[in-house]
Symmetry: C2
């Protein structure tokens, strides 16, 4: 629960209030409020006096009080597993930017791929009565789900597509991505596969799709490495080095992210393995370099900014009651495989 209690406030100078401004302006407090929030409801003269008084006092409204009275916080809770992954950073940027433009601010929580962490963050955040909530993924603790439903606040879940969303949903199917990658590589004539994958839930979905695609063609991965998050470049490189040291032989490496793929490629190049002829490497993401690096990395392109943009836009509509459809929204953003060279 929230611990509001703390040591005495460290002597913060009391900021001027609406009443101070009203006194200086020689009008009533409510007129100041209106001059600030509904200027058209106030005479030019009064507005001028208020503006001058605001200027003079250096008044900044206290939104804690305003929100309490209004029952609207103009605050949106955003929880992502990480910002270290550039693709999530892009989502965060798109969301904060879009919300900011619409007059909302973003309370950021980083869950580290942990449901418990998410639950704790959510509890703390819900105490601030956000007007909207953006979450990553469909998986949440039972307590979280209960609280979210009770909050009766617009919610958008992102980065996935699946059953039983809490409210709106913006994402794509990770399983389908993995499966498409498997088929793609098979079609390109690859036969012996290694996989280097992060151990988070969505990466696992992609991996499952990938291995299923192989199974259907009678193939199985030679070796699979699951790496603890965060999926860093160096870990990808190291994982592939270990696989090679163990003597595995493959003509294609599936990676759950571009970052890991980059690491794999680096190790391959280090050992003089010819990419893409002797070895195909495929990643996932939208890293700038994935589309511009040496023509050897094939990648599933996902637009993190697009996800954020769509999520934020939907939320804004829902929060302002402009939402036309009362039914849960479900947006499939899809994906595409970007090929920089014949794999």
């Amino acid at each position: 629960m929230s611990q509001n209690r703390q040591d005495p406030p460290p002597g913060r100078a009391k900021a001027p209030t609406l009443i101070d401004v009203a006194k200086v302006a020689g009008v009533s407090p409510i007129t100041v409020s209106r001059a600030l929030n509904q200027p058209e409801m106030v005479s030019d003269k009064a507005r001028a006096k208020v503006t001058a008084a605001v200027e003079k006092t250096g008044y900044l409204p206290n939104m804690l009080a305003g929100s309490l009275a209004t029952q609207t916080s103009r605050l949106v809770a955003l929880i992502v597993p990480t910002v270290a992954n550039p693709i999530f950073a892009e989502t965060v940027r798109a969301i904060t930017e879009t919300l900011e433009r619409a007059g909302y601010q973003t309370l950021l929580g980083i869950s580290g791929y942990s449901d418990q962490q998410e639950q704790d963050l959510l509890e703390a955040i819900l105490c601030r009565r956000p007007d909207g909530i953006i979450l990553t993924g469909l998986q949440h603790s039972e307590i979280s789900r209960t609280r979210l439903k009770a909050a009766a606040t617009p919610i958008v879940e992102t980065w996935d597509l699946g059953e039983d969303p809490l409210d709106a949903l913006v994402g794509f199917s990770h399983y389908d991505v993995g499966r498409a990658v498997g088929r793609y590589l098979l079609e390109k004539g690859r036969r012996r596969f290694a996989a280097v994958s992060a151990d988070d839930r969505r990466a696992d979905s992609r991996l499952a799709g990938f291995t299923d695609a192989l199974s259907e063609a009678g193939a199985t991965p030679v070796a699979t490495r699951r790496l603890a998050t965060p999926a860093k470049f160096s870990r990808g490189r190291q994982a592939f080095a270990e696989l090679l040291d163990e003597g595995i032989e493959c003509d294609a490496v599936y990676c759950s992210s571009d970052t890991l793929a980059h690491g794999v490629m680096t190790e391959a190049r280090y050992r003089g393995i010819d990419i893409p002829h002797r070895l195909a490497v495929i990643g996932f993401g939208d890293l700038d370099f994935a589309a511009h690096t040496l023509p050897t990395l094939t990648s599933v392109q996902i637009n993190g900014a697009e996800i954020g943009l769509r999520a934020a836009r939907h939320l804004i509509a829902a929060m302002s009651g402009t939402s036309t459809s009362p039914d849960p929204v479900r947006i499939d953003l899809g994906f595409s495989i970007i090929e920089r060279d014949s794999a």
Copy 2:
């Protein structure tokens, strides 16, 4: 536990309040408040009743109300220029994590390297009466400075070191970094320099240090390219391609970030230029790959997480009044040049 109470209003829309909990528990609202925030001030029996009532009602405190009464928001404002740059992402992560642990939440603002944007964000954020503020850099608009001083809230400026900080300061000298890089390359026998640098203020400081170091040795850069932020991989690559196409000849390329350096290296490799023998490339950052990529990239290592950690810790101390020194704090984190190969 008499359940003889009659049914409250059937309206389900509103979240339960302290008063609802008090009714269910059969105590006064203030006792509920105390049971939650100062449990030791309440009898075991009362506390048990309250706990049960909280459970039953699914009560979550309304922090807007609490903060208004307490004059303490447990909110910290954080403004960074971008999260797309992994080094800032690390700082953001370290800060939110550290603050979260101490019971504070983070209101994130992304300024896009614009003072005006920062000012707008700051205005919006200050309305929420944050208990502390973390900013990037020392440069702020005059209005921002005035407001920040008036807010009389603990502030930490990060990622730089210089004159006239608003309050505390955690960073390092960008000019010194650039100068050290210049000297380093000269010492390694490099003589003809190109520079690819982002056009933000701190990158400019580094660039100035770099060119000064060269001047002192009687050298000047062959060519300098200033790139608009954000400094993406692809732009670095393209910039270097353009320089080469223009016929410039150099044996070292200074880059304001690892991301740009990575782009430059990629183009160099693409054109068959031998790194590091024919060309030295040096970047700046702490990207994981900078320390593990092919042994060709020399980089100035800066620990983004360390900056965030120190900033957050200082702020927490200041906010809880634990701060021993009333004087402005100034922490120089320094830097080091990481060499992966003989440049």
